[in-house]
Amino acid sequence: MSRDRALDAEHPLTLPGFFDALADGDLLGGVCADCGQVLLPPRPACYACGSRDVTVAEQPREGTVYTHTAVHTPPPALADDAPYTVAVVELDGGGRLLGRVDADHDDVTIGDPVELRVREPTAAEREAALDYEAAWPVHLFEPR
């Protein structure tokens, strides 16, 4: 176990560290040194085997749609966006990540290739953000 690590807001095993890197276009994943499980976002412990020996490595941003839906009854803050498409994407590096898809739901199928990109939060998203989230980018998937 890495007792010498300092988990401050710059460390990629914390959310601020992860989102800072994501804002620069780097998708960081935790990788369990014992079993290889990819952890998105990175975290100090592996959920697959319990190890706390987790390294951080950049993950490929390409993947395929594992499952998908469209949100017709959104949370109040996102009312203007609905209906919007949401998917769980299996990334080529092995992790799975949920996110919005920049496509009509009718045009999305399981197995479709997609790529992660990040954007600035909209005014409505900023309004709904917690203090510490205000500068975090929003990730989404685009068909490729």
């Binding site: 594992y66 949100v71 009854t73 949401v86 769980v88 799975r96 919005r100």
Partner: protein
């Protein structure tokens, strides 16, 4: 070790009501303690399942409900695990009685979901999802379960029509249950033609927003015998947490639920084949299919047949009757009370009270069930699951 039993149950009316949460609780307590000494003369501790403080801007439900039950100075606390809060409260009561900590514990659940309108309910339920990735992506409870449903339909032979038939079956069961929120039967077209919420799920695939409260009095078998009440054994309990983000879990094999159920089976000394009736967490139709498999009732990929009478299910299925109450789908789903409403149903089935319901029982349903499984989930699917096995105990009570 003392043997924990359910000695009494009570519930409020379910659905939109003028009563605030604490008053719904009072209605449930009045029913449960009818003919019994007051709670203060029996109860040593209280656990209160409650999902969200957003609805009524109220936390401290342990203190509040203990006070409203007349239980001054007992240990009392709110238990939170989204929709699993009720069964978590029940589990704490079971372990307290089993460990000899108290002779009687009141497990309570209350949720006043209509107090802030649909927007508050949507936002409150979304708080059960991972904040950093899931909530910020704009997912809702129906859309999370739709992700499971889409994948389930992809991997199995199940169709949207099969899921609709689960809703039809549960409304049919609810129509016989005087406690249920919905008294009307529906047909498959009602479901298929209802408003899309999150494809492939439509409005009638989803449990409703419900106000309600339920209480379950857990005592030692000895205390129940002294009270002279019909009792049901709390023979096994199990719980398991899984990852908060649904993307990181197996989305078609609900592992946390399987593990929780197996723990409860092991404690009770039973197997899935012994279960006569089950209340599973059918917050969405697909959940009943997935949980039928996780509980060991159905071979992998055939859980969607839960709406069929036993003789018409694939080989490998047990004869279990699912959601005899109407389930979350049609009995109603006051989130923090739901796990206790499942226990209310099992108590009434195993003591024979439910046998007096009007109309024909579901085809293939056992006429005098002896063993029940309850599966109560919180968050999306198995973010946390609590399982209980209940068995009839005719020799304990009157």
């Amino acid at each position: 070790m003392p043997r924990p039993v359910i000695a009494a149950v009570g519930a409020s009316r379910l659905g939109r009501t003028a009563l605030p949460g604490r008053d719904l609780f009072s209605v449930a307590v009045d029913e449960a303690f009818e003919g019994l000494p007051a709670p203060a003369e029996l109860v040593g501790a209280l656990y209160a399942g409650n999902q969200s403080e957003r609805y009524e801007n109220q936390i401290m439900h342990g203190t509040l409900l203990a006070e409203w039950a007349g239980l001054r100075y007992v240990p009392a606390e709110r238990v939170e695990g989204c929709a699993a809060a009720g069964a978590l409260a029940l589990r704490h009561a079971v372990t307290d009685v089993r460990n000899g900590e108290h002779d009687a514990v009141l497990a309570c659940g209350v949720e006043k979901m209509t107090a802030g309108g649909t927007d508050v309910a949507t936002a409150s339920l979304a708080a059960a999802f991972d904040r950093a990735i899931e909530q910020r992506s704009g997912v809702t409870a129906p859309s999370q379960y739709a992700l499971l449903a889409r994948r389930y339909l992809h991997e199995t032979e199940a169709t949207e029509r099969d899921l609709a038939r689960i809703a039809v079956k549960n409304h049919r069961n609810a129509a016989r249950n005087p406690r249920a929120q919905f008294g009307e039967t529906i047909d498959v077209d009602t479901v298929l033609e209802s408003q899309p919420v999150a494809p492939p799920l439509k409005l009638f695939d989803c449990a409703p927003v419900t106000d309600g409260a339920a209480v379950v009095l857990v005592t030692s078998a000895e205390t129940a015998a002294e009270l002279g009440v019909p009792a049901v054994d709390l023979a096994g309990t199990g719980a398991a947490a899984n990852n908060i983000a649904v993307a990181e879990r197996d989305m078609t094999h609900i592992e946390g639920a399987r593990i929780a159920a197996e723990r409860a089976y092991a404690e009770a000394g039973v197997t899935a084949a012994d279960i006569d009736i089950a209340e599973v967490h059918d917050a969405f139709t697909v959940s009943e299919a997935l949980l039928s498999e996780a509980a060991g009732f159905a071979p992998v990929g055939t859980g969607y047949q839960s709406h069929r009478p036993p003789a018409e299910r694939d080989d490998g299925w047990t004869d279990v009757a699912l959601s005899t109450s109407g389930g979350l789908k049609a009995r109603g789903h006051p989130v923090g009370a739901t796990g206790l409403l499942q226990a209310v149903e099992a108590y009434e089935q195993l003591t024979g009270v439910a046998g007096e319901r009007p109309g024909d029982p579901p085809e293939g349903a056992p006429s005098s069930p002896e063993t029940a499984l309850l599966l109560n989930e919180g968050g999306v699917a198995d973010a946390v699951t609590v399982a209980h096995v209940l068995t009839a105990a005719p020799e304990v009570g009157r």
